[in-house]
Symmetry: C2
Subunit: 186 residues, 2 copies
C-alpha cells in the first residue's frame, strides 16, 4: 500500500508491527463538499489524504472558517480533540472528491503498548504537524494578508482548486479583502 511506503519514509517499523498497523487502515471515499467529521464530534479517527483535498473548519459568529487544508499524504486530525479526548467545535470536509486512509485512533493507541515502533512512527508524524502549526503561527502573527496569500500560492499547486472563500478565512481575512489583494497582484 502506498501509505505504508509513506510511513516507511518517516520511520521504519518491524514487519510484525507493519502487519498490525496495516490491518487498522481502511480506505474511504468522499464526494465533493461531503462532511467527513461533524462539528462537535470527538476526533477518533486519524485520516491521511490519499487523493483530493480536505479541510478542517468551524463556525465563528455565523461564519464558516477554514483552519487547515490537507493534500496528498497529509494527516488530517483535530488534534485538540484527539490528544485530549474532548469534543471539538471543528469538523472535517472534503473540498473535492477525496479518498482518505482512515485509522481508528483507539485501536492505534492500543497498538502503542505492544509496538514501541508504531508509537514512535506516529510521534514523528505528529511532530511534523506540530512544526507546521508553529510555522503557520509565525505567518499569522507578523505577516500582512498579502504576504500570507503569496506564500500560500508559492507552496501549493492545489490552491486553484479551492474556493476563494475558504482561502480567505484560512488567511484570516474576508473574501472581499482577498479579492482586493488578488486584483493588486495582477
Amino acid at each position: 500500500m502506498e501509505l505504508l511506503s509513506f510511513f516507511e519514509s518517516i520511520y521504519k517499523i518491524t514487519p510484525d508491527a507493519r502487519e498490525s498497523l496495516s490491518s487498522l487502515i481502511t480506505e474511504k471515499e468522499y464526494s465533493k463538499n461531503e462532511v467527513i467529521q461533524q462539528i462537535g464530534s470527538r476526533c477518533r479517527t486519524i485520516y491521511i489524504v490519499k487523493k483530493g483535498i480536505a479541510r478542517i473548519f468551524y463556525h465563528k459568529d455565523g461564519l464558516d472558517i477554514t483552519e487547515h487544508f490537507a493534500f496528498d499524504n497529509d494527516l488530517i486530525v483535530r488534534a485538540e480533540s484527539l490528544f485530549t479526548g474532548e469534543p471539538t467545535s471543528k469538523g472535517i470536509q472534503a473540498i473535492e472528491n477525496t479518498t482518505v486512509y482512515a485509522i481508528d485512533s483507539s485501536s492505534l493507541f492500543s497498538l502503542y503498548d505492544q509496538h514501541h515502533d508504531i508509537e514512535r512512527l506516529f510521534r514523528l508524524l505528529f511532530e511534523r504537524e506540530h512544526v507546521n502549526s508553529i510555522k503557520r503561527l509565525e505567518s499569522l502573527q507578523f505577516q500582512s494578508a498579502k504576504d500570507r496569500y503569496l506564500e500560500l500560492l508559492k507552496n501549493t499547486d492545489y490552491i486553484q482548486k479551492i474556493p476563494l472563500k475558504h482561502i480567505a478565512s484560512y488567511l484570516g481575512i474576508t473574501q472581499v479583502s482577498l479579492s482586493r489583494i488578488r486584483s493588486e497582484i495582477r
Copy 2:
C-alpha cells in the same frame, strides 16, 4: 524533585526509567533579560520553567517579536528546531530572574530506545504543546486584537510582570495599538 512529580502527573514511568531520566535533569538560573539560547542556534535542550518567566523571540524587519511565553511548569523549546535538527531563527530569553530545569535533548532521545515509557511521557508533554499552538492559531486567525488581549489577561496572572512591548508583539500588534486598546478598556 518537583519536576518529577509534575511529570508523574502526566504519565507514570517505572522507577528505573525515573532514575535514568532524573540523572539528565539539571537546574539553571538566569537573571532578568539574560539570553538562554541565542537566535540562530539549534535547539538541543529542553527547558521547563521552575520559577520565573521566559519567552521565545525572533527578529523580523528589525523588530523584536515574542512568539511564546512560558511560566511555571511550562516547557520551553524551539520545536521547529528540536524536531528537525535544523537551526532556528528564534532565541530564548529570561524575562525575569528565572530558574529552569534543563534536559539535554540528544541524551533524552537516547533514553527513548531503552525506556518506552520515557518516550511516551515526552510524547504526551509535547502533545500538550501542540494543542496549545493550535489554540493560539485559532485566536490569531479570527479574533480581534482586543479580544486576544482580554483573553490573555484572563488566562495568566503573571502577565503584569511582562513588558507591554513583548505582549504587543505576542498579540501580533504594535505597542501603540496595545496602548490604545488598554485605554479603551479602562
